[in-house]
Amino acid sequence: MGFQFTEENIARVNKAKSKYPTSLAAVMETLWIAQEQNGYISEEVMSHVAEVLQIDKVNVLSVVTFYTMYFQKKMGKYHIQVCTNVSCMLRGAYEIWDAVKDKLGIENMEVTSDGKFSLEEVECMGACGYAPMIAVNENFHENLNKEKVLEILDSLK
């Protein structure tokens, strides 16, 4: 059996559908729910989402491949996102980027062999006044320097 939404998540998908006049419009939220359950959006997930929403699979594919926050492969338990856009860059984001890369030994969009960390260079996250910043999964860490970032990485078990 391939990917199936849990009962609870089916209820959430139905709630999402009720927000819009078409079920296609619920595709983004449904994919968020799917990513939460499965960790990433595989082809199986896309098929299932299409089935649940009764929309064409190509619609799901086009959305998944357009928006950068839907992962198309399994990422690490901790997904480290380093912003290197201008405001962060002015305050040393590239030093942080290099430090994180060195520490984890991986490149952009790669995963460590133990599956614990993955790394992404992201565009502006909307924390410009509290730069530089990184995000670990959904949490922002702001006003950082190299030492603080390494501390954060060490604290992740």
Partner: protein, 442 residues
């Protein structure tokens, strides 16, 4: 200039519904529902409120474009995609004053006749989406939103508000791309006309307003348009949430009257430049707006008209300050890389142009450029500007064009002098030859 707080009042726990209620919350909506929709639009028009999302278009006028007689459902979309580098103000509204935003949405929906509103929030704002959802749930529970409104406010009008979570695409901050994204498609901007007020969400009349714009509405209804129009710059009244970032001692979001001096903003509120250095460059309205030279800043006021006259634009009021040691070539490369990454790919000038600008700037930053490359970059930028469906093309072109115009000497420091070589294969290296074309082809 004196601080005035409209959108972010200094009241502890203002984000909680009971605190908001105790401070007169949801009374403006009640007041609005008791006057006609035309009057509400008129008040907003007269207040002079202009959109805070970048274009600074009159909000009341935008509302008046919505058809009065139509069988179709009407929609309000609230733009909280906030992805412009240097802009981080809307998240402060979600965090500190969500109920004023909700109340503003209720009044706006009433004015334009919408039964449904969507707040589009960028996907990266997980935390703020949760905070906003919590506030919305509380407002629903208290009967301020949804069908229970009828009872609560004693009117026939009611509307629903939903949050739509984005998933990482700068372009979705463009209003027509936002609508496509809401409908479940890729965030591709649409050709205008038809404008959203004619054919918006699902082909129905739609108004799209920025979060900060909407959050101003309840206070305008409460205190009257005369009050609002007397604050700040006459033609662009009210307060603006300025997002200060870069080489400053005290970066952050500051709510101040429009028309404040840029230098005052930087010195008094931003705490001056780090380590007392001089300013080389300021981008006053988020990364897509034309950058200003450090020696141009004196006397510049922060409102749409003054900044336009000064050769830039207010944009989203994200002020990025760069000190004298900044390598502007690297900054320009980083900005261009961003627009290349975010170009949706529909229009050739933008899709290809942003890529070539990035490649060229990368080569320049690696030390392999000559001043002629700057001319080429300007030409590429000029060929993007105005030739695309949406404004992302312009947003990508402006930094390149104006950075080269205003900082040419500065950029040339990183370049090699023009190479003039007698070369063997003349046809392949015409660009760098001393001989005019005619002598080669002869």
């Amino acid at each position: 200039m004196e601080e005035i707080r409209i959108v972010l009042p200094k009241i502890p726990d203002y984000h909680k519904i009971e605190v908001y209620e105790n401070n007169g919350g949801y009374q403006s909506a009640k007041k609005a529902f008791n006057i006609s929709t035309d009057e509400v639009i008129d008040i907003v028009k007269k207040s002079g409120l202009r959109g805070r999302g970048g274009a600074a278009f009159s909000t009341g006028l935008k509302w008046s474009f919505m058809p009065k007689t139509t069988d179709k459902p009407k929609y309000l979309a609230v733009n909280g995609d906030e992805s412009e580098p240097g802009s981080f103000k809307d998240r402060q509204v979600f965090e500190d004053n969500p109920h004023q935003l909700i109340e503003g949405i209720l009044i706006s929906c009433y004015a334009i006749g919408a039964k449904t509103a969507y707040i589009y929030i960028r996907g990266e704002y997980h935390k703020w989406i949760k905070l906003m959802q919590k506030a919305l749930d509380d407002a629903y529970e208290a009967g301020y939103v949804g069908e229970k409104m009828k009872e609560k406010f004693g009117t026939d009008f009611y509307c629903d508000i939903y949050i739509h979570k984005g998933a990482g695409a700068y372009i979705c901050g463009e209003e027509s791309a936002l609508m496509n994204s809401l409908e479940g498609y890729r965030g591709y901007p649409r050709i205008k006309p038809p404008f959203p007020a004619q054919r918006g969400l699902w082909g129905n009349p739609t108004t799209i307003n920025n979060v900060e714009t909407i959050a101003n509405i309840p206070k305008i209804i409460e205190n009257g348009w005369e009050w609002f129009s007397s604050i700040g710059a006459q033609k662009h009244p009210g307060t603006i949430l300025f997002g200060l970032s870069g080489h400053l001692n005290k970066p952050g979001v500051y709510e101040l009257p429009s028309g404040i001096l840029l230098t005052e903003l930087i010195e008094k509120y931003g705490g001056g430049v780090l380590n007392g250095k001089k300013i080389k460059c300021v981008i006053p309205g988020g990364s897509s707006m034309p950058p200003l030279r450090g020696d141009q800043l004196e006397g510049i006021k922060m409102d749409a008209d003054s900044l336009r006259d000064a050769g830039s634009a207010i944009g989203t009021a994200g002020v990025m300050v760069m000190d004298e040691d900044t390598n502007l070539l690297k900054v320009l490369l980083r900005i261009t890389k961003f627009y290349h990454h975010e170009s949706c790919g529909q229009c050739t000038p933008c899709r290809e142009g942003t890529g070539w600008m990035e490649k060229t700037l990368k080569r320049l930053a690696d030390g392999n450029g000559t001043p002629k490359d700057l001319d080429m970059l300007e030409s590429v930028a000029n060929n993007i500007e105005g030739n695309t469906i949406c404004a992302l093309g312009d947003a990508a072109a402006w930094p390149v064009k104006f950075m080269i115009q205003r900082f040419r000497n500065e950029l040339e420091e990183y370049l090699k002098p023009e190479i003039i070589l007698p070369v063997k294969n003349k046809v392949h290296s015409m660009r760098n030859t001393v001989n005019p074309l005619s002598t080669i082809l002869r």
